[in-house]
């Protein structure tokens, strides 16, 4: 049944129809409206504050009056190189690196198992198990860990039951990373960081493993590569973008965190805590801002390095 043009002409166009026809005729306007909100958010709120931060980091701080003087200077960055600040930066960066490495080592085999071998309910259950911790408050989980790792806590009790107290003591006696108990040592802090950020490493690795087609692995085996060879030549390079994405999360989240270093571990400062202290009690916002730039620079360097090493070749 064809509708004749005359019959169609007698029907009045609805407002909605006129509206959609207008946008169809002006595609540029639709795109503008679509991007308006995200642009305002990213452009003004995000890049705006980023610009303000960087600007603050080059202002001068008068330590006598405690006032910020609007003169451009590089002295905040020179201040970062003082032994105590350098110590903080190195400590934080080493922790972030150690956490990232451990998360990758834990997340990869788990994701590999879930994607390649687990089926149906088991797969859903394991996936949920990784994500479940994100449903409860981060603070609650950190305090729970403080109790687990405490000197009289469940972990040391468990070790004692297994007759492994001496092993625990030996681990805690390591200079630099040890301490009186797990909850007051760097090892303890590392364990909590690895636990808290694990889902952020797991998810991107899981996603890129899902994208890796089985025929790719079969092709490698078909051409004579044994499983280990296939892993190094095919699986790892193709999943690398996922690992890098995960490491960006774990690395930067660790670099900026001040709750875990304030709750677990000893009194030595991390970047997040230092920022809090400089801008809080001391009111030295320029130095705090300069300190905040450090993790961004480290991440940028990391990405440049990853790119030049071919981590994104598979993208």
């Amino acid at each position: 049944m064809a509708v004749t043009p005359a019959a169609r002409g007698t029907l009045p166009d609805s407002i909605g129809k006129k509206f959609s026809r207008f946008f169809h005729a002006h595609p540029g306007l639709s795109i503008f409206l679509l991007l308006l909100l995200p642009f305002l958010w990213l452009g003004v709120v995000y890049f705006g504050s980023l610009g303000a931060l960087i600007l603050q980091s080059v202002f001068q701080y008068d330590s006598y009056s405690g006032r910020v003087i609007h003169i451009i200077t590089g002295e905040n960055y020179i201040e970062l190189l003082s032994p105590s600040n350098l110590d903080i930066i190195l400590r934080t960066a080493s922790m972030a690196a150690a956490v990232t490495l451990a998360d990758a080592i834990v997340a990869f085999p788990l994701a590999y198992y879930v994607v390649r071998y687990a089926k149906g309910r088991v797969k859903a259950l394991l996936y949920l198990a990784v994500l479940l911790p994100l449903w409860s408050s981060y603070i609650v989980r950190v305090y729970a860990w403080k109790l687990i790792l405490a000197k009289e806590g469940i972990l040391s009790w468990f070790m004692a039951q297994l007759g492994m107290t001496s092993l625990l003591d030996k681990v805690l006696s390591f200079p630099g990373i040890g301490g009186p108990s797990l909850s007051t040592s760097m090892i303890g802090m590392w364990i909590v960081f690895v636990y808290i950020w694990l889902p952020y490493m797991y998810l991107p690795i899981h996603a890129s493993l899902e994208r890796l087609s089985t025929s790719m692995l079969e092709a490698s085996a078909d051409l004579g590569a044994r499983p280990a060879s296939t892993f190094w030549r095919v699986t790892l390079p193709l999943v690398m973008p996922g690992v890098v994405a995960g490491s960006i999360f774990t690395f930067s989240l660790t670099m900026g965190d001040f709750i875990i270093p304030g709750t677990i571990g000893n009194s030595s400062l991390f970047i997040g805590q230092a920022v809090l202290r400089y801008q809080g009690t001391a009111g030295n916002i320029p130095l705090a801002a300069a300190m905040t730039v450090v993790p961004m620079v480290v991440m940028a360097l990391y990405l440049v390095l990853a790119r030049s090493r071919g981590a994104f070749d598979a993208l």
Binding site: M216, D222, R233
Partner: protein, 345 residues
């Protein structure tokens, strides 16, 4: 002929997925150096058979031999066969050259040799000078050739091809069919080719096996399969066939034995036309005529029930199809073209 070497042998191979028998007792001998096709609809077990030769899948019972050696439980990397995958499975993080060289890299061959062989093989598949490209920069047909080059580089004893032309358009597919066949004849390697396209199977194969429901229905040379289908399934899947059973068969031939007749063997005559003793006939009315360029296909509603498909070459000027519709005709064919076949299948 008896002296021919058997490249791949299936001995009563069965493969179950849960309760479903994907491959249900396959026996096959594939000769060295031939182009062998496994033809069948999806779910007929042909791809599973191919995967079992490659070692990606393993039989629940039975035995698979490669040149007389039992390889039944062996992993893919311990078999001298390579595969061209349906999705090509090129490694996206490597260049074309690195993809093609993969096998030789695994074997730790010297760099100079690898480079020479890569150049030679890219020449063979007519892709010279593309070694530095990434697979993502190639067209579908070019990727297909790279996959072929990668699998051929160290002259495996057997090459497995899993519907490799499925993703290409018709023109390119026909061109690649000829080219694949040429390459196979030049390198002299046994090609085992899986497809659901019967035309492709007939064009390319030295011999082919027709798969249905996890079994081999029939295997032999293309003209054997086409001219002498042994089951109703083969007759219907390879080309088009008219099947007559029971009383209808008896009215035409005088025997109730089920038989098939190919549409191109039938001629349409005027009603009441005389026929010789060597011929048989069936009367009916033209229900439909479809003009297909090179030939015209007629559907005849038979007086004794059912339909008959007849194909006539358009030798003269174009048929007047409208005039043909509704006309009474006598369909006539020679007794020699009648193929008695087994029931069922």
């Amino acid at each position: 002929m008896d002296e021919r070497i058997i490249a791949v042998r299936f001995v009563d191979v069965k493969r179950y997925f849960g309760d479903v028998a994907a491959v249900n007792g396959v026996n096959l001998d594939i000769y060295d150096g031939e182009f062998f096709t496994m033809l069948g609809p999806s779910g007929s077990g042909k791809t599973t058979c191919l995967r079992m030769i490659a070692g990606f899948d393993h039989p629940n019972s039975g035995r698979i031999e490669l040149f007389g050696r039992d390889v039944t439980g062996l992993p893919p990397y311990d078999r001298d066969v390579h595969t061209v995958f349906q999705d090509y499975a090129l490694f996206p993080h490597m260049t074309v050259g690195e993809n093609v060289a993969y096998r030789l890299t695994i074997l730790h061959r010297p760099k100079a040799e690898i480079q020479k062989r890569v150049e030679e093989i890219l020449e063979l598949v007519r892709l010279p000078g593309l070694a530095m490209r990434k697979p993502s920069q190639l067209s579908g047909g070019q990727r297909q050739r790279v996959a072929l080059a990668r699998a051929l580089i160290d002259h495996p004893k057997v090459l497995l091809l899993d519907e490799p032309l499925g993703a290409l358009d018709l023109k390119l597919r026909q061109q690649m069919q000829i080219e694949l066949k040429n390459i196979q004849q030049r390198v002299g390697i046994t090609f085992i080719y899986v497809t659901h396209d019967q035309e492709e199977a007939l064009t390319m194969s030295d011999r082919l096996a027709v798969f249905n429901l996890g079994r081999v229905e029939q295997y032999g040379a293309p003209e054997d399969i086409y001219e002498n289908p042994s089951t109703v399934f083969t007759a219907g899947f390879v080309g088009t066939s008219n099947v007559f059973k029971g009383p209808a068969a008896e009215k035409i031939t005088g025997s109730s034995q089920t038989f098939t007749i190919r549409p191109e063997k039938i001629a349409l005559h005027d009603p009441e036309a005389d026929i010789s003793d060597a011929e048989v006939f069936a009367d009916g009315v033209v229900r439909e005529g479809v003009y297909l360029g090179m030939y015209t296909r007629f559907i005849i509603a038979l007086d004794l029930g059912g339909e008959l498909t007849v194909v006539e070459q358009n030798v003269g000027a174009s048929h007047k199809l409208d005039a043909a519709r509704g006309k009474r005709v006598r369909a006539v064919w020679h007794r020699d073209f009648i193929r008695p076949i087994a029931e069922g299948g």
